[in-house]
Assembly symmetry: none
Homo-oligomer: 160 residues x 2
């Protein structure tokens, strides 16, 4: 039998046919399928994650919504994954700068963006004991890289 999650997934994908993004009410959707609202979050987390090429944005409170955005196909995905693996849980400043330079060589980021990234991961920025800096730098760097690659896809303003 088709799982509830599968039905919800299909429903959302049909809604998105032709559209690059849609907005839904979590509660309405849940009611439509007669399930718990959190079930919607489950479907979004398992079928509409960044890995699946989607970005979820939402707002709570009166007039709240859940927006589902489909990202374009990514040709550079392998590079991103390679870089994320390379960075792992810690990375020193020189290595990070080398990666940024590489991205600039490949015209994936321009000079201004490269300088921004260096600023964010510099020793100065990360005001912590030396040992912790590399770990924190890796976290910030990973996040920025993912953003860089999302930007490549044409959509410019999607944070996660």
């Amino acid at each position: 039998m088709a799982q509830l999650s599968d039905s919800i997934e299909r429903f959302i994908k049909e809604l998105m046919d032709e559209e690059t993004q849609i907005e839904v009410r979590r509660n309405e959707l849940a009611q439509h399928f007669g399930c718990a609202p959190s079930q919607i979050n489950y479907v979004l987390a398992t079928r509409f994650s960044v890995d699946h090429g989607y970005i979820i944005e939402s707002r709570r409170g009166g007039g709240g919504y859940v927006r589902i955005v489909r990202m374009c196909e990514r040709s550079e995905e392998n590079l991103l994954n390679a870089l994320l693996t390379r960075i792992g849980n810690a990375v020193d400043e020189d290595s990070a700068c080398a990666i940024i330079a590489h991205l600039q060589d490949r015209k994936i980021v321009n000079g201004r963006e490269a300088s921004l990234m260096r600023a964010a991961i510099s020793r100065n920025a990360l005001a912590l004991p030396i040992s912790a800096k590399d770990v924190l730098r890796a976290a910030v760097f990973r996040n920025m890289l993912q953003q860089v690659f999302r930007n490549l896809e044409g959509g410019v303003r999607h944070d996660v």
Copy 2:
């Protein structure tokens, strides 16, 4: 449904089109939208804060008014200093995002750069206990801002 707050925000911004400041009667505005007067204060507080680049002045009593001023004529140098002061030693994510949005409004950064900055200072990026995050975010953010303004001086402008 479009939220009342969103409508009021749009209305005010349309009034301010071309103008650098406007004056309104709180009660009149509230009546126009059929809401409680304090709703106007709510909109001003959440959409026209200093972080968003506005200043609110008002006077009570007969002939009272609310004046909404859009900050814009500061030189970029002063803006940098104002922002660094504003950020200080700690800043939460929402405030930082408001500042980034303001920079984007003023075309000081473009969409890609804004998204990069948000990525660098997001909760996800700063893998630390909550209490320390705001402090670290401020440090990273300050560093990025200084870089942004250095980029301006060099005139290295790449639009997307």
